[in-house]
Symmetry: C2
Subunit: 210 residues, 2 copies
């Protein structure tokens, strides 16, 4: 892949294209135009073509795009066709919800382990995922370095844990603790999940109607 | 508030300004420039000024913005200073995590009730929030219409439940079920939370380094 600059706004739209194309593929659609894609996603067709031009354009517009090959190209750009590993730190309700119901595989990850302090959980499994003692984290990372740490433990512990997993060599943190973590400070990629941002958008939408 | 069109991109940045200003306020900062705001948020200063100009500009740039009044103005635009009500549908792990750890209040909502089918949960409370029998939903909505339904039940049930709460008069749906719901189809505002989109961004960031 070329190393030229691609705007974060374009990058943030890639998962939406990926999701939409997966649905089209599942529905048996074989070709799709930029305007149909745009319509499904709430973008404009010229936005879609502009976004795709950042990656070379993905083939002939006049006939629409081939759904399977476009899906494969976008999957490859995102990197979901590689096999990264992830470990969840904190198996409370949110951790449980993610282990039980979230498909890490669809996003390019194998969820390889979960860590907690609760002696009732340690040594058990949820599905295929072993719950390990957090005090053995360093040892486990040594044996088997994880690419990403998913932080779902109490927010008071978030900063220290983020520093620790960064030192242990993760390349990214998926952060649910609602503490803003800084990628430049930690030297790893960070994706902060802020539920509140999403609810505030909804708040705006229902408030403006009043 | 004026009814003129404001881009969804601007609107999606409002919660980030709100969060940043709350942090500045908490730290005792009284004035802030557009460039400091921009720096904290990873935007450019001209982006910040352009966004604010959509809402009339918020006062004198030369001296920076007054943090408290800017916070109040943005809170009022988002509508977090009003008191909307929300009900959670589905008290599994994710529902539990939201009831226990998420501050609805900070986003302008009172979480008034939770609904589930589990007889062991029905009649109990989590904190102040009563868990009610889902079969009594219509009655409860009649007595006390909720503004927003938070969908955290299994995805197979999502479409039917979305239609039901829309009929019962909610004005918005905060959707965690990973089923894409359409606002135009349902006639209510929808905010879909897609964990996978966020993880795919992280996947992209760590993949491109390789």
């Amino acid at each position: 892949m070329s190393e030229r600059y691609i705007s974060p706004l374009v990058i943030r739209r890639l998962p939406k294209y990926h999701r939409c194309l997966k649905e089209l593929s599942r529905s048996g659609v074989s070709r799709v135009s930029s305007s149909v894609l745009a319509n499904n996603l709430g973008f404009t067709a010229s936005q879609v073509r502009q976004d795709f031009s950042c990656f070379g354009g993905f083939g002939q517009q006049g006939y629409g795009y081939n759904v399977e090959s476009l899906l494969a190209e976008i999957a490859s750009i995102i990197g979901v066709d590689r096999k990264h590993t992830a470990a969840i730190i904190g198996v409370g309700h949110l951790g449980h919800a993610l282990v039980n119901n979230f498909s890490f595989k669809t996003s390019g990850f194998e969820l390889a382990a979960a860590f907690d302090v609760n002696p009732e959980l340690i040594g058990t499994k949820i599905g295929d995922v072993p719950i390990l003692d957090i005090s053995e984290m360093e040892k486990k990372f040594d044996e088997n370095p994880f690419d990403v740490a998913v932080l779902t433990m109490p927010r008071e512990l978030a900063r220290d844990m983020a520093r620790k997993v960064a030192e242990l060599g993760v390349r990214g943190i998926w952060n649910f603790t609602n503490v803003d973590l800084s990628a430049t400070e930690l030297g790893v990629e960070i994706e902060n999940v802020h539920f509140a941002d999403s609810l505030k958008i909804l708040c705006y939408e229902i408030s403006k109607e009043k």
